[in-house]
Amino acid sequence: MTTLYFKKLLQLITSLLLFTGLQAVCWSADEIKLSTAWIAEGPPHMKMLAGYVTIKNLGNTDTELLKVSSPFFKTVEIHETQIISNIARMIEQDGLDIEKHSTVKFAPGGLHLMLIGAKKSLKQGDSVKFEFTFEKSVKKTITAKVRKR
C-alpha cells in the first residue's frame, strides 16, 4: 500500500516536472504576438522618426524585449516619453518587461521606437520590416506601415 502510494506520488511529481519543463520551452515560440506596427510620417529628409507597436504575451511566463532592429534604420532604440512637472523627457529602455498574460502598447506620448538614421525619406504608405528579439532567443518580425499621425 505504502509502496503503491509512493509510486503514484513519484509519477505525479515526474509528470508535473515534465509539464513545467515543457511549458518553459513551449511558451516562447508562439505566445508573443506583435500587431499594429506603424511609423509616424515625418517631414521630408527626416532621419529621426518614431515607431509604434502592440506586443501581447499570451503565455504563462514573463518575458523581456531585449532589442529591436531593422535593415532600414541604422539604430532602433526603445524609449518612453515622460512628462513630469511640464518637462518632457525620453527615457531609454534597456530591455522592456512584458509580463505574462499582458499587452504592452507603444503609443504617442508613451513608449515608442526611436528610429535613427533612416536610409531614405519615408512617406505614407511605405513599409518597413522590424525584428524584435526577446529573451531565450525568441525573435519575431513584423512589417510596419508609414502613416500620418
Binding site: A40, G42, P43, P44, H45, M46, M48, L49, A50, H79, T81, I83, N86, I87, A88, R89, M90, E92, P108, G109, H112, M114, L115, I116, R149
Partner: protein, 219 residues
Amino acid sequence: MNSINKLHISLIVLLSIFSGLAGVWLYQIQKPNKLAIPEGLESTVLDKAFPITEFNLIDHNNNEFSQKNLKNKWTFIFFGFTNCPDVCPTTLLTMQQVWKKLASVQQNTSQQKQLLLVSVDPKRDTVDKLKPYIEYYNPEFIGITGSLLEITKLTKRLGVLYEYDNHGKSDGSYTVDHSTQIYLIDPTANLRAIFSAPHNAKSISENYLKIINFYASKL
C-alpha cells in the same frame, strides 16, 4: 427747534452720509475685480502682463526675428527640437488642428496670429534643417533658431527649462529634455497665458478666442 437740536440733527445726517460712503468704499475694495482677467479657462491667464525682453534670433527663412516681430499679432510659442520623435511632432499636430479650428471661426483677419517653434538645439537645428521641418506641419508656422545665448535669453525670461541627455553614449548623439508649455504672447509683446500639457486642440482654440476677445479693447 433750538440750535442744539439742529446741530444734533446735522451731525447725525453727516454721520449717516459718511457711513454710507464708507460702506460703499469698503464694498468696492473687497469685491474681487471681475474684469481683471478672463475667467473659467483651462489655460493659465496671467493677471499682470509680463513683458518679453529683447532677443535676436533668426527664422527658418534666415530672416532676423526679434522682440519687435512679436508686436501687432498674437503669438503662440513653444520650445522643442527637430530630432524629437514624439512630443514635438504631437504638439505641432495639435497646433495644426488649432489653426484649422480658428480658420473656420475667425472672420476677423485683423486679429493676426503666429506660431513659433523655438529650437533648444540650435547646434543641429540650422535653418536648412528647420525650414522643411516646420513647413511640413504648416507653411504658416515659424521655426526659430540662432545662438544658444540668445535662445537662453528667451527661455530664462519665460521660465523654460531644457537639458541635453546623451543617455550615457559617447557617439555624439543626444536628446533634449524640455518644457512642454505653450506660451501666448499678446500684440504688445507681453506674455498673457500659458497652456500646459496635455495639449488639446479644442481647448486651446476656445481659450485663445476668449482671451483675444477679452483683451480686444484693452490693449
